[in-house]
């Protein structure tokens, strides 16, 4: 026999680290032509997050969209002091389309914080961050943490064109040295990026490198990292069901100790060692 009291204890036990909570939309607006910025009003106890972690969102059911599974979304910002949780997202399919229809005051059920975020080792004083597209979302809290820890940060932001480049001001405001490259200007080629990064390495400005999402960037950074012995981390994506580590649908292969191991993006990741990651 289970008393209600005991059960409510078990729903939010003292040692819970992952929460399922209702949040409320404070705003949900286009950030530029392709991305949307959503700010949720969330209880502060769920905002004890690490940069690189994510939430699993129960996108709303409407007449037009009935997503079934939750959708993973990187934390773009978390501000316990003002109960704010931010996401930056792109409409990809029905889940994100349903998200985009949320208006101020609507509720959104979220589970998190989830996964294993970026690490900033004590001896990593000069951080290089290379990102493209919506991948920048996951890097924003990292930049903020770097500032808090007093590290020097260089951010190379890549995009199709200047007008879809995001977060540049955000990174600058956090004291980062921002370099923008775009397809439009022809500056985002692998060769040009390699040149820029090698210059920074040569100048001693790169103790570690962070990236996310792009296969092309992963290969480039792996080469540079291997050549110069610079460690690095990458945030990866994979389709998810549970988001918590139970279902094993989100595995990716990694090279480790000469063998290939499979790890769960939702649990061991989404941030992984850059050299172990495998292209796709």
């Amino acid at each position: 026999m289970i008393a209600n009291l005991q059960l409510s204890d078990s729903i939010n036990p003292a040692d819970a680290v992952i929460f399922e909570v209702e949040t409320f939309v404070k705003s949900n607006k286009p950030a530029n032509g392709e991305y949307r910025h959503m700010i949720l009003d969330a209880p502060s106890h769920v905002l004890n997050c690490q940069p690189g972690q994510f939430f699993h969102l129960l996108c709303p059911t409407s007449e037009r969209h009935q997503p079934f599974l939750r959708r993973p979304m990187s934390i773009y910002g978390f501000f316990p002091e003002k109960n704010e949780l931010h996401f930056l997202y792109k409409i990809a399919g029905k889940g994100t389309a349903a998200l985009s229809e949320l208006g101020t005051g609507d509720h959104l059920n979220v589970v998190g914080p989830l996964g294993h975020g970026y690490s900033i080792r004590d001896d990593w004083r000069n951080l290089l961050l290379v990102a493209r597209g919506v991948g920048l979302a996951t890097m924003a809290p990292l930049a903020q943490e770097a500032q808090r820890l007093g590290r020097k940060l260089t951010a190379i932001c890549s995009a199709r064109s200047e007008n879809v480049l995001m977060s540049v001001d955000h990174f600058r405001a956090l004291g980062a040295d921002v370099i923008t490259v775009t397809d439009e200007q022809g500056t985002s080629s692998v060769e040009n990026m390699r040149r820029i990064i090698e210059e920074h390495v040569a100048a001693g400005k790169v103790d570690t490198m962070y990236t996310c999402g792009s296969n092309r960037l992963l290969r480039l950074l792996q080469e540079i990292g291997a050549a110069h012995g610079i460690p690095g981390e990458i945030a990866l994506e994979q389709q998810m069901a549970c988001g918590i580590g139970m279902c094993h649908c989100c595995v990716r292969p990694f090279r480790r100790d000469g063998a290939i191991v499979h790890e769960r993006v939702c649990r061991e990741g989404p941030v992984f060692d850059m050299q172990e990651a495998m292209g796709w």
Binding site: M1, I2, N4, I18, Q239, H248
Partner: protein, 314 residues
């Protein structure tokens, strides 16, 4: 106060809500106190180390999901030294799901896994019988009987046989499992399905086909639970699309003595403790003093004439 306990043979659970194999792990302890559950059921484990299927391993269909996780397994040694000890911190009975590709391999893992700390063994016979034509053991009464007899000879622990909805012989398989010594039936596993991305024309799952779980499976699993409960004397544990307390109650009324919750936990990680709380509230509200009053209480008298026809074809 109402009595939430339920009896599954020699085992008494403090409530009838437990997770379904493969949709639960110690990771969920980060969300709520796993001690509140009726039982703990682990992901199916094999003796040997296995890799599992190619990705994508899940996809969404309207209102439900398909999975083709397969049975990635770190092997039985890892399971005994790492997984079982974790659950020792709870008083909740631990049920270990096992699988193998032959009757003898089933017997072997069953014997090896019968260690202190394990309260019951769930025999996942929805896996291919490589000694015969590769169809799952649970597809036929004969192969079900063979496996269950072998595992029965290998362990004194309560043995639960987990059936498949892919068979056309649900009651025959259920009876075979009982006759071979199963202590309970888990009804059921996922249903073989498929989805194709019309733009790439590629299957949405890396292994082409996968198992349907979630709400779409519910009416099918409920029918199987009813059929099984009518044809065997051992307890039946309902499983398939159970997403809220109403679903759980429907399965109990159909004849299930307990329920397993799978996919719903992915959508709502708190659903199991919520369901336990809501079940208690439901019993109180409707003046029902115990879960056992619900079990098998379906009022099917008026409809029984139709059964023979309906079992044959809707």
């Amino acid at each position: 106060m109402v009595d939430l306990t339920t009896r599954l043979g020699t085992l008494t659970l403090k409530n009838p809500v437990m997770p379904a194999s493969g949709t639960f792990s110690d990771d969920l302890a980060g969300v709520f106190d796993l001690g509140c559950l009726g039982a703990h059921v682990t992901k199916t484990v094999t003796r040997e180390i296995r890799g599992g299927n190619p990705t994508p391993r899940v996809c969404e269909v309207r209102g439900s999901m398909l999975n083709s996780i397969g049975i990635p397994s770190k092997g039985i040694d890892h399971f005994i030294t790492e997984v079982i000890p974790f659950y020792q911190r709870y008083e909740t009975p631990l049920v270990v799901s096992i699988s193998a590709h032959s009757g003898d391999d089933f017997a072997r893992i069953c014997e090896e896994i019968s260690v202190p700390g394990v309260a019951a063994i769930e025999v996942n016979i929805s896996c291919p019988n490589i000694e015969e034509d590769g169809k799952a053991f649970a597809m036929r009464p004969s192969s079900t009987r063979m496996v269950m007899e072998k595992v029965r000879g290998a362990s004194d622990l309560p043995l639960w046989a987990k059936l498949t909805p892919n068979t056309g012989e649900t009651t025959e398989v259920a009876i075979a499992a009982q006759e071979a010594g199963a202590d309970a039936l888990v009804v059921s596993n996922t249903l073989l399905s498929m989805a194709i991305d019309i733009h790439t024309r590629k299957p949405k799952l890396g292994s082409l086909m996968g198992g349907l779980s979630g709400p779409s499976l519910k009416p099918i699993a409920l029918r199987m639970v009813y059929q099984c409960a009518k044809s065997v004397n051992i307890p039946v544990i309902g499983c398939g699309g159970i997403s809220n307390v109403e679903d759980a109650i429907e399965f109990l009324i159909a004849g299930a003595s307990a329920v397993q919750v799978g996919t719903a936990t992915f959508i709502n990680p708190l659903i199991m403790p919520t369901m336990i709380r809501d079940l208690e509230a439901y019993l109180i509200k409707h003046g029902i003093s115990s879960v056992s009053e619900l079990v098998g209480s379906v009022d099917d008298a008026a409809a029984l004439d139709g059964v023979v026809f309906m079992e044959a074809a809707p």
